[in-house]
């Protein structure tokens, strides 16, 4: 039996141990915010945090994540109460079709939480593993920098 801490809750996974983490999350735990775009670790739509670090959940069998901590987009805000980062994406136009958005948010969230730099180049580097075909990235970068600035002000 595989145990995963998903968004702060301990969960047992009884499926085949080699089930991909993305499938365990989406199909077993019904956390469908995590998306599959390529199945080869290229697009980043399936990005979740594993022990706080962004990883591609399409490239991880559940057995390798046993006992570890997983955070998905569902751990951020809700439609009624968006997180600061989500709010900034909404205001700056950081989401269009929305399919890359959960992965993009998780990469950005982890970067900001780890105290990553918030200049344009650093943010772009942090997001380089998340492909977006709609926005041309500028509004996404603006969203992340905007959220960081707001966060700094509040402190």
């Amino acid at each position: 039996m595989i145990t995963l801490t998903v968004n702060g809750r301990k969960k047992k996974f009884a499926g085949a141990p080699f089930t991909r983490l993305i499938d365990a999350l989406r199909e077993e735990f019904r956390l469908t915010g995590t998306k599959e775009g390529c199945g080869e670790g290229e697009c980043g739509a399936c990005t979740v945090l594993l022990d706080g670090e962004p990883v591609n959940s399409c490239l991880i069998p559940a057995c390798s994540a046993d006992g570890r901590r997983i955070e998905t987009v569902e751990s951020l805000g809700t439609p009624e109460k968006l997180s600061r980062l989500q709010e900034s994406f909404l205001v700056c136009g950081g989401a269009q079709c929305g399919i890359c958005t959960p992965g993009m948010l998780m990469s950005a969230h982890s970067h900001l939480k780890a105290g990553g730099k918030t200049d344009d180049e650093s943010v772009r580097t942090a997001l380089a593993g998340n492909l977006c075909r709609c926005t041309g990235y500028q509004d996404i970068v603006k969203s992340v920098i905007g959220a960081a600035k707001k966060g700094a002000k509040r402190k």
């Binding site: 989406r26 019904r30 956390l31 469908t32 915010g33 995590t34 998306k35 599959e36 775009g37 390529c38 199945g39 080869e40 290229e42 697009c43 739509a45 998905t72 987009v73 569902e74 951020l76 805000g77 809700t78 439609p79 009624e80 968006l82 989500q86 994406f89 909404l90 205001v91 700056c92 136009g93 989401a95 269009q96 079709c97 929305g98 399919i99 890359c100 958005t101 959960p102 948010l105 344009d120 943010v123 772009r124 580097t125 997001l127 380089a128 593993g129 998340n130 492909l131 977006c132 075909r133 709609c134 926005t135 041309g136 990235y137 500028q138 509004d139 996404i140 970068v141």
Partner: protein
Amino acid sequence: MALMANVGKSVLRREGPEKLTGRALYLDDHAIPGCWHGVTVRSTIPSGRVKAVRFDPSFPWKECAIVTARDIPGKNVVTLIEPDQPLLADGVVRHREEPILLIAHPDRATAYEAAKRVTVEYEPLPAALTLEDSLALKNKIFKDDNVFKSYLIEKGDLAAGFAQADFVVEGEYRSPAQEQAYIENNAIAAWEEDGVMVVSGSLQCPYYVVKALKALLGRDETKVRVIQTVTGGGFGGKEEYPSMIAGHAALLALKAGRPVKIVYDRHEDMAATTKRHPCVVRQKVGLKKDGTLVAQDIDVLMDGGAYATLSSVVLSRGTLHAAGAYTCPNVRVRSRAMATNTPPNGAFRGFGAPQTLFAAELHWEKIADVLGIDSLTLKRKNLFQLGSVTATGQILRESVGAQECLDVVLKRSKYAAKRKEYDRWNKDRGNPTWRGIGLAIAHHGAGFTGSGEVYLASRAGVAITRDAKIFVLAASTEIGQGTNTMFAQVAADAIGVPFDWLTVETPDTHKVPDSGPTVASRTCMVVGGLVRRAALQLKAALEAEHGRVPKTPSDLKKAAATLCAGKAARRFEVEYEKPPEVNWDDKTYMGDAYGCYSYAAFAADLEIDKATYEVRVRKVTTAQDVGKALNPTLCEGQIIGGSTQGLGWALLEEPVYKDGVMINAQLTNYIIPTSLDTPPFDVTIVERPYSRGPFGAKGVGELPMDVPAPAVAAAIKHATGRLMTVFPFTPERIAEALS
């Protein structure tokens, strides 16, 4: 002023909160009880006869639903324009990855395993894999000449024009295919519900799917229902191909007697579905010594793939834009779309125009060298302005922002100063890079071409329900571009009520009228106009029957009760009406090709590493005349996003074909831009209102795709002195050009 409480403001994206929290449900996110997984067995040769289909006897086939062409109750045709494309190959295959057989199984992995246990035996036939093969009739694929469609535009007297010319400049330009690369792969589910075939999924054009399903299943529209789910990008890639997948899912659902979903993986999506049409354009242009255009003779050749699909209309738009945004008294444009034994090419943002505009724009760089006049001066001299006459004889009566866009870009990009600065930089051999700045200008017609909108006769509406909800009713889909938000803004302002009071109905063909496909930069200008008209009818009814437009929710309730008069809802629906001044002749291909054009100017500022020939775009400056930005943030999002796809096409993206199939059908090898490949964009929205557009709006969806490639090519010319006419401009191609 209540009239403009929302329009023109960056109102927040309607469905944004759901998308940002992972709550928005894309097709594969829906839990559909009892749903099986459908997979497709595809041809492994580009041209041949199917001799036999064998099933591995050791596999438990009883667990599967299997569908072949024989199981089709109606016509085996993906109904669109020509009836040439089968839903399932029946005896003959005409391209690689053509669907032959369908399998559904309760378990996804088993369904894929089943597909592996089917062996198809072929008798190969000759294949025409390239435009050259097709022209040489290496294999007859479509009628006697492999020509899906041809057009001829003739204006003025071409021979007389060339006779007047002091210079005649000829050139040939080639543009590659391009993959839409939406991040959500194609996904559609189907199930029967009380005798109705319900199809739901990721798609742009619900009523295209209805039309295809009606013919396929031999049913009328009351027995076919199409519902769009949240869609993870389209860009044209989900315009026509979903009709194929919807048909597959429906057939499997009928056979299995339960819901079936087909979710493509990335490889299948890239290898099997449509691309932008590869294109060859020959330009022959006559000019006076001072740079005045006197003759344009243009020949366009597009590769349509194995079936006609949308090639005729893609070619039409390409043909109509081929002369560029310039006035010339004597013009001939000849164009053909050819059949080849490759997967059909189809809709992709720009729809033929980016290909022909690339040639038209870049040709100015060649002309500049011949005439000894810089390309900017030449372009400015001939550029469209108010009252100009296009290649089809259309007089541009209003809303012509080309010159203004150009002026804004020249100023904001410091074009003239950078040209000089980079000339100096490039002279110093010690510098590690070459630098260049290049410019492109384009026009893009909004809405369907010519009489297209008249034939479409689109309908849209608004409805007020007894429980005091106001709905926008249209089949136009939200695919990321902002349809939901824009419709709600337009309707709210037309009625004079708060934005929050409006709900945009899900595109469900049993609930919404056919507002036409979500393509062709028509959603704002054409459908937005219909929504506004319908909303004004509701407003008039409120004023007439309720005495006023309600300002409070409680007053809205009263108004709703009055208007609905005991019924569940009251609908106000309008149909497209052709503006009387817009006239088009399909026979001569002359007249008002589009109601109105949008305009863009674009400067690409780049440098090329002398050691590796890698290109880095340092800055993009663009100005785009969209009539009116109904929502500036969304509008800018279209401009930056479309420009980025254009930069990708110019520099990185190239489907590589071998034996008729794309061999780099993975995101690992088909290279689209990452955040680090994308430059900062300086965007200016220019607003020259169009009197027929809602609040002055024209189109913006496709326009940004037209300008990056020629601007990049011009910048590379500036940096290296080489005019490169075949792209993408990969480091390999640049190295070769410079060797």
